[in-house]
């Protein structure tokens, strides 16, 4: 675990967020304090403070294995933190299970979506909204229509192509009518057209909904996020408004690489 390129030495950099944002998060959003998660002796996440206020469009980027998915899992309640505290709407929810948090409005998608292979696509979406008051404006069929899967409504979810599963996962998450939406690489494996559609869907969501976006596709991040946190080895390297972070030389060296190589012409 020691190569020159590692920034292990970097301690968790304090968050740059303004006090107003943080205060808002304390009363009506998600607040994480002193969160640490370790598998045996390996610490994969260590965040001093991290806040999501309503209406936040918060992107988390970082190299593979930085702990991004782990952070989402911790927020969603899929895994328990080793130490630390999570509050939501001012209430401590660290010990609450995933199901409770989902009913309370924390929805999520998965990095490797499988949804429910044995249910039809439509039933999958129904299951997503099962715990919520039926809302004539948001029928399962409408959610399917929104993500472009209306034609597959009666197909088994297990028979969907990979990209379609990802969109279905999103529809299921949206059907849960979340107030905080945790998205784990929603654009991975999507084609250009589907990515455009995804962006349309996400930007079209109600403004008050908070969104935590983990994504490697910087185009998507730029289009959506107004705040970016960069993680590395489970710690915050930097955070700030999107354009500032993108310009940050550490982030470039660590994560983005030279902008030209990304889609450089062959030969």
């Amino acid at each position: 675990m020691s190569t020159a390129s590692r920034v292990d030495a970097v301690d968790c950099v304090p968050s740059q967020r303004s006090h107003e944002d943080t205060d808002r998060a304390h009363s009506t959003g998600l607040v994480v304090t002193g969160l640490r998660h370790a598998y045996r002796e390996l610490t994969v996440l260590d965040l001093d403070a991290f806040t999501i206020a309503p209406a936040d469009r918060h992107a988390i980027i970082g190299p593979n294995g930085a702990g991004k998915s782990t952070l989402l899992n911790l927020l969603a309640g899929t895994v328990r933190p080793t130490t630390g505290r999570i509050t939501y709407n001012g209430q401590v929810i660290t010990r609450r299970r995933a199901g409770w948090r989902a009913r309370a409005g924390i929805g999520r998608t998965f990095q490797h979506p499988t949804v429910y292979p044995g249910l039809t696509v439509l039933d999958c979406v129904r299951m997503g909204g099962y715990h919520h008051r039926r809302n004539p404006e948001h029928t399962p069929e409408q959610w399917l229509d929104l993500v472009g899967l209306a034609g597959y409504a009666q197909q088994l979810a297990g028979e969907l192509a990979h990209g379609h599963r990802r969109m279905l996962d999103l529809a299921v998450a949206l059907a849960g009518q979340p107030r905080v939406l945790l998205l784990d690489e929603p654009a991975a494996g999507l084609t250009d057209t589907e990515t455009t559609r995804l962006l349309d869907i996400l930007t079209g969501l109600p403004g008050w909904m908070a969104m935590v976006l983990v994504e490697h596709d910087m185009a998507v991040v730029t289009a959506l996020a107004d705040w970016i946190t960069v993680l590395h080895h489970g710690r915050r390297v930097t955070d700030g408004p999107a354009d500032l972070v993108r310009a940050d030389p550490t982030v470039r060296a660590l994560y983005l690489g030279a902008p030209e190589t990304a889609h450089a012409a062959h030969r």
Partner: protein, 346 residues
């Protein structure tokens, strides 16, 4: 994408799809009716004797197939129902409705308590924990002599009465009628309830993480199903007493549990009527078919298991689907000319 074409084609015929779950209980009821009408008392007694295990298998199918927890532990609520019934009968309460109610309650409570532990686990661990439950049930029944009469069990349990003033249920034909009615009613009720829960349970089995992330209290679902299945097992226990009027600890032990689970596999894990019919097949092979070859019942039973595995992939429940698929294939090959065998390697 022509998704619509793709989804409707090649699936089971719509008729079998909708009617399938109900065809089996209907047929079973018909068959039982025929047996009841027949004059053969031996047949009546034999079938009546098998029905409690059939209902136990239904309860196992609920837990194994629908909740996705392979279990040998349903003999515990079965035992609770049976011994409650037996003790009530000895205490002078001989009304069948009271027995059924008390047994269902005892079964549900037992299964609820056990379920609180079991539903936290999955797969093989559940299987082994429930095996422990089965063993402990039989051991406890053997040791608790005041209730169970020791390892030799209880005999001469007073007969039950359907209603006050009616003759006791002892003759073979009425017992069969009564047992069959209760078995079919309980199975149907369970099927109706499970239909409402189908989506939730499929989701839970398929992808628990996703289900939790959509707010589903997965363990609570499983506990509810486990408890409900316990009530069914309790009723099965009451029927055991009503048909046999005796019980030994071995009847609520591992071997009974194993037979019930195998019956469920033969029936096709998720099909409740399939499980019941599977149980009738298993006991029929062991007690009736094998009778002319004393000492070789295990051989025949084993062969039946082997044959079932090879000839019935997916169990009895999959037969209609496989038939309709075969019909589809025949139709298909009639329409299309077979694809050219030769490939042109240029």
């Amino acid at each position: 994408m022509n998704a619509n074409v793709q989804t409707t084609a090649g699936r089971a015929l719509p008729l079998t799809r909708a009617g399938l779950p109900w065809a089996a209980p209907g047929l079973a009821a018909l068959a039982l009716g025929a047996v009841t009408v027949s004059p053969d008392a031996y047949l009546h007694a034999s079938v009546a004797r098998m029905l409690p295990l059939a209902l136990l298998a239904v309860s196992v199918a609920i837990v194994t197939g629908h909740a996705g927890l392979p279990t040998l532990g349903q003999v515990a609520p079965y035992a609770a129902g049976a011994y409650t019934t037996a003790r009530l009968a000895f205490a002078g309460v001989t009304l069948a409705p009271a027995h059924l109610l008390a047994a269902a309650l005892a079964g549900a409570v037992t299964a609820g308590l056990l379920g609180a532990v079991l539903v936290r686990h999955r797969g093989t661990v559940v299987l082994m924990l429930s095996l422990a439950v089965a063993e402990l049930t039989a051991i406890t029944a053997g040791q608790w002599r005041a209730v169970s009469g020791g390892t030799d069990g209880l005999a001469g349990i007073p007969a039950t009465y359907l209603l006050p003033g009616m003759p006791p249920l002892v003759a073979d034909r009425p017992v069969l009628l009564y047992t069959a009615t209760i078995t079919i009613a309980a199975t149907t009720a369970a099927m109706l309830l499970l239909r409402r829960w189908r989506m939730l349970l499929t989701a839970t089995r398929d992808n628990e993480g996703r289900a939790r992330a959509s707010g589903h209290p997965v363990n609570a679902y499983l506990l509810a199903v486990h408890t409900g299945a316990g009530a069914v097992a309790g009723v099965a226990g009451a029927l055991l007493i009503h048909t046999h009027r005796w019980i030994t600890p071995a009847d609520v032990g591992f071997s009974t549990a194993a037979l019930a689970l195998l019956a469920v596999v033969i029936g096709g894990t998720r099909s409740l009527p399939g499980a019941a019919i599977g149980a009738l097949i298993v006991l029929g092979v062991r007690d009736v078919v094998a009778a002319p070859w004393p000492g070789h019942a295990p051989l025949l039973l084993g062969s039946a298991f082997v044959v079932a595995v090879y000839l019935l992939p997916g169990g009895l429940a999959a037969i209609p689907q496989r038939v309709s698929a075969a019909v589809g294939r025949v139709r298909q090959s009639a329409r299309h000319t077979p694809r050219p065998a030769e490939r042109t390697p240029t």
